[in-house]
């Protein structure tokens, strides 16, 4: 059974929409159903590897209705099929369920998305910044963050030898 029929059977006809471009197949689901959909795809449709988690900020995108998109790229290692599960988020509810309990590989990917976009993965065991320093306050991959930063580099605290 292919994944579309399976999801239709499990979650109902209107619970997701599909789209595609080139050979990419995408499904879009609501954030509250995301975990169940991914779990179903992993356990019953054979998508056993999580290839990637990423996010896109659609603030300046033409004709965009939602602010953020979170994309889970799945891979079936037996058949080689790929599937992209997408969820749209809007401020102030920037939280999606963590999939760490399904794939341990999601650990650092979710931390990176949290670090760069400020999207909170609820249920992640250790959600803290990964690439940027702890005391950083902004989420720099958002489109409203300037390319050259907000002066963090120039105002970085310098620790002298005497203070350390």
């Amino acid at each position: 059974m292919n994944h579309e029929e399976l999801l239709k059977q499990r979650f109902g006809e209107g619970s997701f929409t599909t789209s595609g471009f080139r050979d990419n197949r995408r499904i879009v689901v609501a954030a509250d159903k995301l975990f169940d959909v991914l779990k179903c795809l992993k356990e019953d449709a054979g998508y056993d590897m999580l290839a990637d988690i990423t996010a896109v900020d659609y603030l300046k995108y033409p004709d965009a209705r939602d602010r953020f998109g979170v994309i889970h790229a799945l891979l079936n290692t037996t058949t080689g099929e790929r599937l992209y599960v997408k969820t749209f988020l809007n401020e102030p509810d920037l939280d999606v369920p963590s999939v760490f309990s399904l794939w341990k590989g999601a650990d650092w990917m979710e931390r990176e998305v949290y670090d760069l976009y400020g999207i909170v993965f609820t249920g992640h065991p250790d959600l803290r910044r990964i690439l940027l320093p702890e005391e950083f306050t902004a989420h720099p991959m958002r489109k409203d963050y300037p390319l050259r930063g907000r002066g963090e580099r120039h105002n970085f605290p310098v620790i002298t030898r005497a203070e350390s």
């Binding site: 471009f21 080139r22 990419n24 056993d48 590897m49 999580l50 290839a51 990637d52 990423t54 896109v56 900020d57 300046k60 995108y61 033409p62 994309i71 790229a73 290692t77 080689g80 790929r82 992209y84 794939w103 341990k104 590989g105 999601a106 650990d107 650092w108 990917m109 990176e112 760069l116 803290r128 910044r129 990964i130 690439l131 940027l132 320093p133 702890e134 720099p140 991959m141 390319l147």
Partner: protein, 403 residues
């Protein structure tokens, strides 16, 4: 890093102590840091701390156009830069729906496989160096110099060739390139055999790698491992076979796999992959198709070469159009993920386009980042001297790790 992670044990585990490994340490090779919790010499917990080289590559990808960004992706995995370039333009060309010319596909395949050999030589050499076998490292680096010479002949730059362009390559290659590649194909097996003789039956090397850092097949899939690391654990997956891109369909080669999943298996997989790559290069260079290297200028997506810019008005206009920020390419307003089998594993780009010549979002799926995340799982329970063995077998490139 939060303070509680730096404190080794609780009150009843006072005997545990913390060791800070890196960010400046000769055996990390690049800038990465590990906070190890030790029970004697045994590792109880390892917490990697990364981000020292974070320089916002993905943010820059939203500012530079499709051709300019190639200079940035070059600097991600600087051990095999051309593999990154090919992956980037593979994604961009998939977005725009550009079909490459046969000559370009063959040339990119040759360059990608040379990059694979270069990457594996460094990984194997550095892993051997950390375990005390200096000679293998030197043998490997001599061959890497020859590879740099080949890149220089092909693109005019040794270290960061920045050679791919949308729809083709910066320069077509000449006879010197073909001769150098043929010489390399002829002479490399001798060095390879030397390294094999130095290491494969070397008792110290084997005892320090066999059974160390074992990754099972299930774990490898669950932890999103790809490339030689997954194949050493028995995951039979290679994008060159499973999702053939460039000219890989035309060549005969084997996917090298192992079952053991330890550091030795990862070393052996890399060693054998080099020979397979050499076979691909040999088949490609002997059957190199003639014809143009770039897609036809009429397609409006590719930069015309320098000579024709001076000689024909169409090329001059095309050159102007692609360099003006308000004109440039007009890709479809959509998003696409495309991946290639880079030496380290699946290197993919998720490109979101808003219809302009600059990517709206250029996400990299960096294999080093995903492979370093598995390090704490591999090292726990081993001795402190095994840290360098496991790190060496994972081939972590910090510039790609932090981007």
């Amino acid at each position: 890093m939060p303070l509680e992670l730096l404190q080794a044990g609780t009150a009843d585990q006072e005997y545990l102590w913390t060791l800070n490994f890196g960010p400046q340490h000769p055996a990390t090779h690049t800038t990465l840091r590990l906070v190890l919790t030790l029970d004697g010499e045994k590792i109880v917990k390892a917490v990697p701390d990364i981000g020292y080289l974070h320089s916002g590559f993905e943010k820059l990808g939203e500012d530079l156009d499709f051709n300019q960004y190639v200079t940035i992706v070059d600097r991600m995995n600087y051990i095999s830069p051309i593999a990154n370039e090919i992956a980037w333009h593979h994604a961009v060309e998939k977005l725009m729906g550009i079909e490459l010319t046969p000559r370009c596909r063959y040339l990119r395949t040759i360059l990608a496989e040379l990059a694979r050999i270069s990457d594996h030589l460094l990984c194997v050499g550095a892993a051997a160096l950390d375990l005390g076998a200096f000679t293998a490292f030197l043998y490997g680096f001599y061959q890497r110099e020859l590879l740099y010479d080949i890149y220089e002949t092909a693109a005019g730059q040794r270290f960061h060739p920045s050679s791919t362009r949308v729809g083709g390559l910066l320069f077509d290659v000449n006879d010197v390139f073909v001769k150098k590649v043929r010489d390399f194909v002829k002479n490399f097996p001798k060095t390879h055999a030397d390294i094999v003789r130095l290491l494969n039956r070397n008792r110290i090397f084997i005892e320090r790698t066999q059974g160390i850092g074992v990754l099972s097949k299930e774990e490898a899939i669950n932890l999103s491992c790809t490339g030689p690391i997954a194949r050493a654990s028995g995951v039979v997956r290679d994008l060159r076979k499973d999702e053939p891109y460039l000219a890989y369909k035309d060549f005969e080669f084997k996917v090298i796999c192992a079952r053991a999943g330890d550091c030795l298996a990862r070393y052996l997989v890399r060693m054998d992959e080099m020979l397979q790559s050499l076979g691909i290069i040999h088949q490609a260079i002997e059957n190199l198709p003639a014809g143009p290297v770039n897609v036809d200028v009429e397609g409006k997506d590719v930069l015309p070469d320098q000579q024709s810019i001076y000689r024909s008005i169409e090329s001059l206009i095309q050159h102007f159009e692609l360099h003006m920020p308000n004109r440039q390419w007009q890709p479809p307003v959509d998003e696409v993920y495309a991946a290639t089998e880079s030496p380290n594993g699946e290197l993919g780009f998720y490109v979101v386009s808003d219809g302009s010549g600059v990517a709206y979002r250029a996400r990299t799926r960096p294999p080093s980042f995903i492979h370093f995340a598995i390090f704490p799982y591999l090292i726990v329970g081993h001795q402190i001297s095994d840290v360098v063995a496991v790190l060496g077998s994972l081939n972590i490139i910090a510039a790609e790790l932090d981007r």
